[in-house]
Symmetry: C2
Subunit: 345 residues, 2 copies
């Protein structure tokens, strides 16, 4: 299963808002459709957002109304701006668009065709690198797991969230293949239920036993001793190892620490923001209050109530047992995260 596919000038993506009820693939050659899909969470997950944005930018300069290099560069600036404005927290989005812009600038002295080929090649590279990163993260992460373990995850950091086999869920799937993981507990992940809708769906497709729980049931689950590791993805990681991820991650980290359960973050190096010294410098997206006030299109709260709806929270580095990347496993105090690494930016 692939969340996003580039097919000769057309981007095909699975509309994740319809899962698990319907598996509908959308095909588009219009970058605005890609931008809307990111905004509306049809495409979601930090690495997948980066890949989709790169493909979207590539689509924009393949448009028939682009007739020369200057027009392509202008179009690229516009499309990159629109794609960058879709979601503020996942840094992979900005990293991918920067790579596309640099690739275009490097090819600006040649023909329009050469420029187009260079940009498409860069977008495909971003995707291919993510596939390889996922595999490496999965293997490095699985090596950390004990035998016969049950793991807890939050939101969806699986194949749907990446170009490859997933980050946190990649570790879990690889751990299952190795016979180490015997059961997965998945937080449903309110408000948009990515755990119930997407993680449970991916795990069932893979034949891996999964138990769903409401997010706040994780407290008694961890207290019961039934879980040996918590593994999550990340939307942005600061230089000091503070991790921004789906809201609800921070409470899990606090509970994991209290019950001496290791708390792992699995993410490609493209998730690291070396301009952010700590989590306090990471912008946290506030989503539409209706995502909390409504469920399945039905109002659940009375009129007149206010809403507190951050999409992400920040887990301080001291609660993170390790950050698993494609290049290696980083542990506190995470001083290596501050230095540039090949493939990181």
């Amino acid at each position: 299963m692939q969340a996003i596919v580039w097919n000769n000038g057309v981007v095909s993506f699975l509309d994740q808002t319809l899962l698990p009820h319907e598996e509908r693939t959308c095909d588009t050659a219009d970058y605005r459709v890609v931008a809307e899909a990111i905004s509306s969470l049809r495409i979601r997950g930090a690495p997948a957002i980066g890949i989709a944005a790169a493909y979207g930018a590539a689509l924009s300069i393949l448009s028939p109304h682009v007739s020369d290099v200057a027009g392509a560069l202008k179009e690229l600036e516009e499309s990159a701006g629109i794609l960058a404005a879709t979601r503020p927290t996942a840094v992979n989005l900005f990293h991918a668009l920067d790579r596309i812009r640099r690739a275009a600038a490097g090819a600006a002295g040649g023909s329009l065709n050469a420029l187009r080929e260079r940009v498409v090649a860069e977008a495909l590279s971003i995707h291919q690198e993510d596939i390889a990163s996922c595999l490496s993260i999965a293997r490095r992460g699985a090596a950390l797991l004990p035998a016969e373990c049950a793991v807890l995850t939050h939101c969806n950091a699986g194949a749907l969230a990446t170009g490859g086999m997933g980050t946190a869920l990649g570790v879990i799937v690889e751990g299952y293949r190795q016979g180490k993981v015997r059961k997965v507990f998945a937080d449903e992940t309110r408000p948009l239920l990515q755990g119930a809708r997407l993680t449970a769906w991916e795990l069932r497709r893979a034949g891996i036993p999964v138990a769903l729980l409401t997010d706040s049931s994780a407290g008694s689950l961890l207290a019961s001793g039934a879980v040996q590791a918590v593994i999550v993805g990340a939307d942005r990681i600061a230089r000091n190892g503070d991790v921004a991820n789906k809201v609800g991650t921070y409470p899990l980290a606090v509970l994991a620490r209290r019950h001496s359960v290791p708390f792992y973050v699995a993410a490609p190096l493209s998730t690291i923001d070396r301009t952010a010294r700590s989590g306090s410098e990471i912008p946290i997206e506030e989503r539409n209050p209706l995502e909390v006030l409504e469920l399945a299109g039905k109002r659940i709260a009375p009129e007149g109530v206010d809403v507190y709806a951050p999409a992400f929270d920040v887990t301080p580095n001291e609660l993170v047992t390790a950050i698993v990347t494609e290049e290696g496993v980083y542990r506190p105090p995470f001083s290596e995260l501050g230095t540039p690494v090949a493939g990181g930016e």
Copy 2:
């Protein structure tokens, strides 16, 4: 607004499963309807369950087919057994039924009419005492709050959950009246959304500003410093001060401690189970997995997933700043909870 009313042999209750969309009052003279209403959470909240069970037991001996004292006592045993089997965690249920049984036993030497009057009077007393308890708890709890505070609560421990003005929500409403509480944050409280549906509804009716949040957003909310007190109710409190309450309470207590926010439990003495030495002796109800797998009647997860669905969790005494009862405020190590108190049982 009264969740339950006794009206001359008829119990009237608000069907809480329909809130906030519909305010439907059900009238019944059949204790089986009351028992079903408790099982299905039409009537909910530990003190309200106790009151409803007492009224239900009283209804059973008012039935026209009860013709003598022996028949009444037999009917009472049967109805009390059915009412006691509705929900396992809230101890108020068992305390109330014990009082009704003792009242009946005390009047067994007289006429059927005298027995009926005695049992109805006992049920009315249980209700009246709860009204008084709520008021006392509200005043004692409000005294603990700082000026100009925002408070966070979980589930619904309001008028809907009691015979009076509520426990945790009673404290909050009284704190608002005194000008101390300026804002309330309400966890939506998955899976059955008592926070979104009931607490937000009660607070809006009272004109108190309320912001709704998904349960796992409480982590970043507490980390932000926006909350000065967490106040919750309880379904059962062990002798050592361990508190069983709606699942999700324990994570809140852990987070409150981490951020040095006081964590208050507001509950009548009837919530204390003096036979339970610690929280590990409190039975925790598992609810129907469909409550997690479905939302508003719509399936949210794929087929084939398991569910972990405890209705309650246990907060260890060390995380509880104080337990506010009608008789006084108890603080760790809660040694007074082990001794019988007037009105407690």
